[in-house]
Symmetry: C2
Subunit: 481 residues, 2 copies
């Protein structure tokens, strides 16, 4: 679908500089388009009213387009992230509350000039990877009506894919910031845990939750990360960024980088998904990368811990009281996921943590010899009909390559990887050691430029490629060793 506006950050900057339109005109047009599209896509739980938008626009009109790095940039907010004065529902009406305060990341973005346009639909309590587990309606895919948007950050991905926002905030505990990116031709940045504040975000698993960005390009995700990665005193799990992972580390990857490819690849019988993945590996090789086959079993074993192990107790610690007092308020599928949590013991929780730590020693050792890893975003896409028939199994399938990521403390970026013959977008995930986000984004940027795949809205790259070399922790070793 051709979008009426090119909302990429640099395109928008030029448009404002050339007075092509004002933020007020753009936001009004996007709001009308959102109201028009929402009955079909169910992407918004709340679209900001003109009254609610007024103060943001008034603030911008008091300054000029050159003064703020995100001046007049429209963004959508997943509805488990607080926007002051507007309900946070987490897709559960009985849970909903009106926050007095913005989440830290929302406050940062507004301070930088960005404009929130709406609160987006999600799998209830961010528990799901498909986008259909919401009483506010099922989120269909942005391209094909018979597929889901992916979840849990379903509406956020759609807001960007449908040309209603330059970027959107999601969250990611098990893959919620990556699966919907892949299904909608987007970049999904799940940065290193703690780099983007989760203060003001409804927890799923508080020790694992990440706030994420959906964008059309890796370049934009790099800019947003560089602008917002800060240690937040209001988030106990916040971490300070490191010197080799700032915006200046984004660049062209030096040739000869080593990337891991799982020996064990699962496409659940989908030859097309396999072919698209193999083409992505070839693209990385074209870029000068060296593919190294690695044993993926420890990653897959860690993935199992997320829902089969005691980490469901973290989710229960948020939703448990509501389930106990008012079970009907929570979707049956979410209740089912959490049913084992109340009986899990602290002994089991610690033993699972030991097991995870043992697996992390193995996976860290594998990553130590690589610059990053590539996997499919998911084995194969699932249709809405398949999801309706087997809601838990099909959802689990989508998490094959995502569930281990936050448990093992790795950074990840979902990157568009072409289209199925039916037109459905496909994606791969690049991941690596914590605090290598800007390096992963550099690879993703180069990948997007090399593969020359059409961006959302059929737009092309409008920004020049970087001119400096990309850096990661290994570059740091060479410099400071």
């Amino acid at each position: 679908m051709k979008h009426p506006y090119n909302l990429q950050l640099d395109a928008l900057k030029s448009a404002y500089a050339n007075h092509a339109f004002s933020p007020r005109e753009l936001i009004q047009a996007l709001r009308e388009r959102a109201l028009q599209l929402n009955p079909e896509y169910k992407l918004f739980i709340h679209i900001l009213t003109e009254e609610e938008l007024a103060p943001y626009l008034a603030n911008l009109e008091a300054t000029g387009p050159e003064s703020l790095p995100l001046y007049g940039v429209p963004f959508a907010v997943k509805d488990n992230i607080d926007l002051a004065g507007v309900p946070t529902t987490a897709a559960c009406h009985a849970f909903s509350y009106i926050p007095a305060k913005n989440a830290t990341i929302v406050a940062q973005l507004i301070a930088l000039g960005a404009i929130p346009i709406g609160k987006t639909n999600l799998d209830q309590f961010a528990t799901g990877l498909n986008g259909t587990r919401s009483p506010y309606g099922l989120c269909r895919n942005s391209v094909l009506a018979e597929y889901p948007s992916g979840g849990s950050s379903a509406g956020s991905a759609l807001a960007v894919a449908l040309g209603l926002a330059s970027f959107a905030l999601g969250t990611d505990t098990a893959g919620s910031g990556r699966v919907p990116a892949a299904l909608n031709n987007l970049i999904g940045l799940k940065a290193t845990k703690g780099l983007i504040s989760t203060a003001g975000v409804v927890p799923a698993c508080r020790t694992l939750d990440c706030t994420t960005f959906f964008t059309a390009t890796a370049l934009e995700a790099s800019k947003l990360l560089a602008l917002t990665a800060r240690k937040d005193p209001e988030d106990e799990y916040s971490r300070a960024n490191v010197g080799w992972n700032t915006g200046r580390s984004f660049g062209i990857p030096a040739s000869g980088f080593k990337f891991g490819v799982p020996k064990q690849l699962e496409f659940l019988g989908c030859a097309e998904s396999q072919a698209l993945f193999e083409r992505s590996v070839s693209t990385l090789e074209t870029m000068g990368g060296i593919a190294i086959e690695i044993d993926f079993s420890a990653f897959l074993e860690a993935a199992k811990l997320l829902y089969e192990g005691p980490w469901v107790a973290e989710r229960y610690s948020v939703v448990g009281e509501l389930i106990e007092n008012n079970p009907e308020a929570v979707l049956p599928v979410i209740r089912d996921v959490l049913q084992k949590a109340p009986t899990a013991t602290a002994v089991q929780a610690f033993r699972a943590q030991y097991k995870l730590q043992a697996l992390k020693v193995k996976t860290d050792a594998i990553l130590a010899n690589l610059d990053f890893m590539i996997t499919p975003a998911y084995p194969r896409p699932v249709t809405l009909a398949e999801l309706a028939a087997e809601p838990v199994k099909r959802n689990s399938d989508l998490g094959t390559y995502t569930n281990f990521m936050n448990l093992l403390d790795y950074a990840a970026v979902a990157v568009p990887a072409g289209f199925m013959r039916n037109g459905l977008p496909s994606g791969v995930t690049l991941f690596g050691r914590a605090f290598c986000d800007q390096y992963l984004l550099s690879i993703a940027d180069s990948f997007q430029r090399t593969s020359k795949l059409p961006l959302i809205g059929q737009f092309e790259f409008t920004a020049a490629p970087p001119t400096t070399l990309a850096k990661n922790d290994r570059s740091q070793l060479l410099v400071c060793g």
Copy 2:
């Protein structure tokens, strides 16, 4: 008590270089002395037989004193740490097993030339801070018979204090490497979690356990740490050391260092303990330090989590099966400590971890402005009679200043701080950020030299003071921006 041998590392090195005696002669003499003292002090669960000692002596006799850094240095091993071929009991006969392999730290020390002389008594399963909770007998204090040795590394502290070993290995989860040091005029180094391997150590709380050193001087602890701090692939919780924390960082502390002193100090009515602590603060000021009063409440709140919170489930995960199948095998006081563990839920475990993380944000912020903190080692000493009357309460009192340390991931050193009028040794604890061990030891070394307190065995310092400046993470910041 005057010792027959000065077993300090450098004294021993000179003695061997001068052929004053051979390792064989020394070990034989120490063995006889150990057999003589053990009926009174109950410090050893097992004293190595001449047969068991033979291979270690034979190995040394194949080399020379200059070839190995710990050539012929006798050391004692807490009996929850594996020494191949000799039972590991953890002070519980029913639990005992004969390991085929040395614990990593034991293997390292033997490879460096040190000679294990025996397995030392402890509070059962390292659960206790007093040294009386053992079916292998109660460990009295090295100086005064009416006081305990302190625990849980009771026999290890005694082995050094009684002149039977140059150093001893202990463990420390809640203070077990620090309380017995203070009560016996020793340095107790509880290094940063993960710096000294715990592979081959019976876990207490596996996420918190540390292997520790008891020595007469901080200088010796610095040497031992520098020789053994390595990332161990066999210990999942092992961590690599950092550049500013090697043996080269041990030195003279630059004047103007800032140290925190708790506003809330508890001496449980013991004016003598208070006076000794105040004198220690004055000593640090004499050394050029600047005392800064800090709010200690977050540290004290974290301390409560260790036994009142779900971390007892970690202990239960080791001992629980034995308690269930054979309750009589475990001391009643240990069973009591663990009784709440089986009912603790995973939800409680995660919530306690959130609470700890929130407290750590507060305590980290306090430490960020300091080079280190000083506290008493314990509020006041307790007598054996008091312990017998109120075993749990008096034990808890001893942990007032120790229980928070590993939960908050800090490094700590117990340092001798003078003597009560009755002759009982007293101690303080210096602690600070992870990976500042060598800096803390530098402060401890300077403290020992400045305070001029008699060492164990009435020996004096035989090593010259360092000539370079001590370094910590702050020095690193200055150097590398």
